[in-house]
């Protein structure tokens, strides 16, 4: 079974630039999560989708971050404009249903300079 795919693996951008991350979840998984993990901290939930609807986005900085999940499958997370404090690993995960075990991708390491 293929795992959760994320791209790119690494990204370096200057502050105020924009960046987009892509995630392809495991086939058949209805729930998709985006997390931000700063070095030394646990994953922080940014947004959770159930199919193509948003379950929770209370921690998503909506003035600069946006996410969509078209057709309830792939998802993209965008940051525009980026700030230095956005430097982190962005993890995508999927699960069969809400509350079930989550499968994570390898993440995208973003460095904002």
């Amino acid at each position: 079974e293929a795992g959760v795919a994320q791209s790119p693996r690494y990204k370096i951008i200057e502050k105020r630039q924009s960046v987009a991350f892509w995630c392809n979840p495991i086939s058949g998984h209805a729930t998709l999560y985006w997390y931000q993990q700063i070095l030394g901290q646990g994953p922080k939930l940014l947004i959770q989708f159930q199919n193509n609807g948003v379950v929770d986005d209370s921690q998503l900085p909506k003035d600069r971050f946006s996410a969509e999940r078209l057709k309830g499958v792939d998802s993209t997370l965008k940051i525009q404009p980026a700030k230095l404090e956005d430097s982190a690993v962005y993890l995508c995960a999927s699960s069969f249903g809400s509350g079930a075990e989550a499968f994570f991708g390898q993440g995208t390491r973003l460095t904002v300079v």
Partner: protein
């Protein structure tokens, strides 16, 4: 606000001993509690899930307990090995099954 607390200090133990990690939570009533392992540069990997009506769950050398009165979970690794060295994350799924994580505890098992 909802809060999950895990020991921020690293846990150092000798090979063969039992490692016990703690997860405490406040302002939350999770339906499920999960434990994950994370190695450097990798995404978290699921280990165990325990439901609110379960007291204990076991899988090979792993054991998890869940006390909804104390709002606490304990995670045990028996007969620990150096390969068990990693960061262990506690995660709660509650309202709408939003999955939130603690900061994790780093475990180092020494030969």
């Amino acid at each position: 606000s909802q809060k999950i607390e895990q020991n921020s200090e690293a846990l150092n133990i000798q090979e063969g001993k039992t490692a016990t990690l703690t997860c405490n939570y406040t302002n939350y009533s999770p339906a499920y509690l999960q434990w994950y392992r994370q190695d450097p540069g990798r995404g978290p990997v699921f280990l165990l899930l325990i439901r609110e009506n379960e007291k204990e769950k076991r899988k090979e050398r792993l054991k998890v307990t869940f006390d909804t009165t104390l709002k606490q979970s304990l995670f045990h690794i028996t007969a620990s090995q150096p390969a068990d060295s990693a960061t262990y994350l506690c995660a709660l799924a509650g309202g709408y099954n939003k999955l939130i994580f603690g900061a994790g505890t780093r475990l180092a098992v020494h030969p």
